[in-house]
Symmetry: C2
Subunit: 432 residues, 2 copies
Amino acid sequence: MKNKIRPSILPGFMELLPREQRIFNDIVRKITNVYEKNGLIPMDTPIIEKQEILMAKSGGETEKQVYNFKRGDNNLALRFDLTVPLARYVAQYFNDLTFPFKRYQIGKVYRGERNQRGRYREFYQCDVDIIGNGKLDIRNDAFVISIVSQAFKSIGLKEYKFQINNRKILLGLFQELEITDNGSIITLIDKYDKMDKKEFYKDLEGVVGDSKAKFINDFINIKGTGVGIIDNIKKLNISNDTFNNGLKELEEVIKCLKIFGVCENEYLVDFKIIRGLDYYTGTVFETILIGNENFGSICSGGRYDNLAQNYTDNIMPGIGISIGLTRLFYVLKEIGFVDNYNLEEGLEYLILPIGETLEYCFKVKEYFKKLGFSVDVYLEEDKFKKKLNYANKIGVKNVVIVGEDEVKSGNVLIKNMFTGSQIIKKVIENDF
Amino acid sequence: MKNKIRPSILPGFMELLPREQRIFNDIVRKITNVYEKNGLIPMDTPIIEKQEILMAKSGGETEKQVYNFKRGDNNLALRFDLTVPLARYVAQYFNDLTFPFKRYQIGKVYRGERNQRGRYREFYQCDVDIIGNGKLDIRNDAFVISIVSQAFKSIGLKEYKFQINNRKILLGLFQELEITDNGSIITLIDKYDKMDKKEFYKDLEGVVGDSKAKFINDFINIKGTGVGIIDNIKKLNISNDTFNNGLKELEEVIKCLKIFGVCENEYLVDFKIIRGLDYYTGTVFETILIGNENFGSICSGGRYDNLAQNYTDNIMPGIGISIGLTRLFYVLKEIGFVDNYNLEEGLEYLILPIGETLEYCFKVKEYFKKLGFSVDVYLEEDKFKKKLNYANKIGVKNVVIVGEDEVKSGNVLIKNMFTGSQIIKKVIENDF
C-alpha cells in the first residue's frame, strides 16, 4: 500500500472551516456591496506578473519578501500588493479609462514575511483607489476614508479609529527647523509606537539636538479631531509653505469627513503616522482597533502624487486605502467578534425524503426556491435518524419531512431546528 | 529622467477593462447565488501549497504544467486545479466536516500551458463537489449536473449540451471483448473528436483487430437522451458486471436529471466521453456550446471512488464538476454573448454639484442610498461640461444636478442619460 502524505498547508497561510468561511465571505460581500453602492468599479489583475513590473520601484524589505521565480526565460513574481498592479493597469489602459478612475479590488497578495501571529504570507486586501489624470481633488482623500467607515459599519465593527496625518506637515516642519536628515527622523517616528518613549527621545535628540527634539516630540504628540486641532497648529505660526500646504489639505479632509458622514469619534489626527512606503506624498492614515492597538493597523493608505511614474509620462495622482482583510479576520477571531457574528447566510430548508418520494421532494424544493430561500434535498439512502443528525450538524434552519403520506395529502411537516416548533403546511396542490 | 518600463502583463493571462470586468463579476455572482441557494458550502484554499501535496498523484502533462518553485528549503507549487486541494482539505479536516460534504469553490488556478487562443495560464474555476464518507449515492452525479444547468440558465446561456458517460460501461465492454490494452484505446477514444474518422478507425483496428474495432466504433457512436438509449444498450445483452453496473448508474443519473429539472435537450449520452484524468471511476461528462464545439469543453467533471487516497485511509467517494470560467468568458466574448450581455449593475445616480453645494449633495446622496441605489458625487472642481462628459463616459443611468437654487428650493433636476428625459424632484425637505 502506498504511503500517505500528511495533509497540511504551509505555515503562514489561512484556511477556514465552513462556519468561519461563511463569515469571512459574508464580510467580503458586505464590503463589496458598500464599494459598489458608492459607484466604485471592480478590477481584477493577474496574481503573477513580470518581475520587472512588480519590482519597478521597490527595494529594501519588500524586495526580500516578494515571491520571485523563473519559468523558462521569464522572471516572474507574485503580486505583493494591489497598488503596483493598479499603477501598471492605469498606465497600460490609460486611453480606455475614464478619469477620475475610481476602482476597488479584492484579492490575495503574497509576502514571504517571517512567520508570526497575525502575519500571513497569503492575505486578502480590499482596496479602494481613486486616480486622477493630472489632478485629483483633496476631497477624495476624505471620501476613501468615508467608504471604509461605511464598510466597517456594514459588518458591525464599531471600535476602530482612523489615525490621519499629512506628510507635508512633518516635511515642512523639518524644513522650517533646517533639518536635512529627514530619513532618520521619519524612520524613527514610524517606530514610535513600538519604542520606549525615553529611548525614542534619546534617539531623536541624537539626530537633531536637544531643542529641536523637544519641539518635534511635543509636536508629534498633539492629537485631536475636528477643526480645533488645526486652529491650535496655526497658532504655532510656522511660515513654511510645505507645512501650510499640508495643514490646508488636512483641514479640507477634516471638513469633508464630516460632510461625508464620518463622525468625530471615528478618527484622530495623529502626526506620528508616516507610513514607511515612500510613494506617499500627502494624506496618510492607519486604522487601529480600540483596545487592540497591539494588533497593528487593519486598514492603511494615503495619497501619491504620481502613481504610475515607472510606466508612463502621464501624471496620475491618486489616493488609496487597503483593508488587510486576512489580518483583520484573524484579529476579529481573537477578540471574539467572529464567534458572536450574526450570520444570516446558511441553508434555510433541508428536505428529508422518506420512502420513494424524491420526485415530490424536488417539487417542494422548487416551491421554496421560488420564494427565494436556499434549499437542499437529502439524497442518501440512510436511516431517518442519520438524516436528522446531518441536518443538525450542518446547522440548517428548517427541515421538511416528505413521506408517502405527505405526497398523498400535499401537506408537509416543517420543523424549525432552532426552536423545535413544527407546522404542517400545504405547499403543493395535488394533481390527482 | 528614469527610463519607463512598458506596462504589460504576461502572455496567457486575462485582464479586463471595466465593462467586461463588471459582466465577468456579474456572471460569478449569479453562479455563486445558484450554488448557495442549493445549499453548497463555500470553501477557499491557498493558491500556494506544498509541492508534495499537489503532486501526490499527478504525472505526465499536468506535472510539466505546474508552476513549481523553491523558497528557502521549501518546494512550493501553485494549485493547478481545485480538486487536489479539496482532497487534501477533506483528509485534513475530516473530523470537523459533515458528510456528505457539499462544497463550492471559485478561484484562480495555474497551468503553464502552451500559449494559444482560449487557453489561459491563470484561469478561474467554479467547482462543485460532493464528498461522501464511505459511500455516496449516484443521485449526486445528476445533482451536480443540475446545478450547472441552473447556473448556465441564470446567466442566460442556452446553447449548451452536457455530454454524459460512465467509464464503467467502456471498461466493462473492453473486459467483455477480452481487450487488455485499455490505456491505448482510452487515449485514442479521448482524441476522437480531434481526429479524422478514417484515421481513428485505422488506429483502433491496429490495437484491437478488425471485428472488435467495428463493434467498438459502432458502440461509441451511439448517442441519445432519456431512457431510450439505455433500453437500446440493454438489447446488446452484454453480461459483464462492470458494464451493467455502469449502465445501471447511467440509467439512474438520467432518471434523476429529469426529476432535478434538467431537460432532454440539455444533455446527450455520449460513450466517447472519457476524461483523461485517471481518478474518474464512473460518471464522466463534458459540456460543449452548440455551434461552437471547437472551443472544447466549458464544464467537465466526474465521479471518483476514493478522492483523498493519497492523504488518508478514509474512503471518500466524490462527484465533482468544474466550470472553466475564464475560458467560458473568452468564448462568450468571441461569440458576441458578452457584447449583448444585459448588465443590470453599474452606477444608478451621479450627483453633479454646481457651486458650493457639496454638503447638500451628500444629503441627496444619502436619500438615494437609503432607497438602495448606487450613487456617487462628482468631487472635482471642473467645468460643468467636463462633469457631464464624465457622466457620459462612465455610463451612469441618471445625473442629479444640484446648484445653489436647488439647495434653496429643495428640488433637484434628475436627468436620465439614456432617454434624455428630465424630471424635477423634491428629495429633501428644506429645514430653513
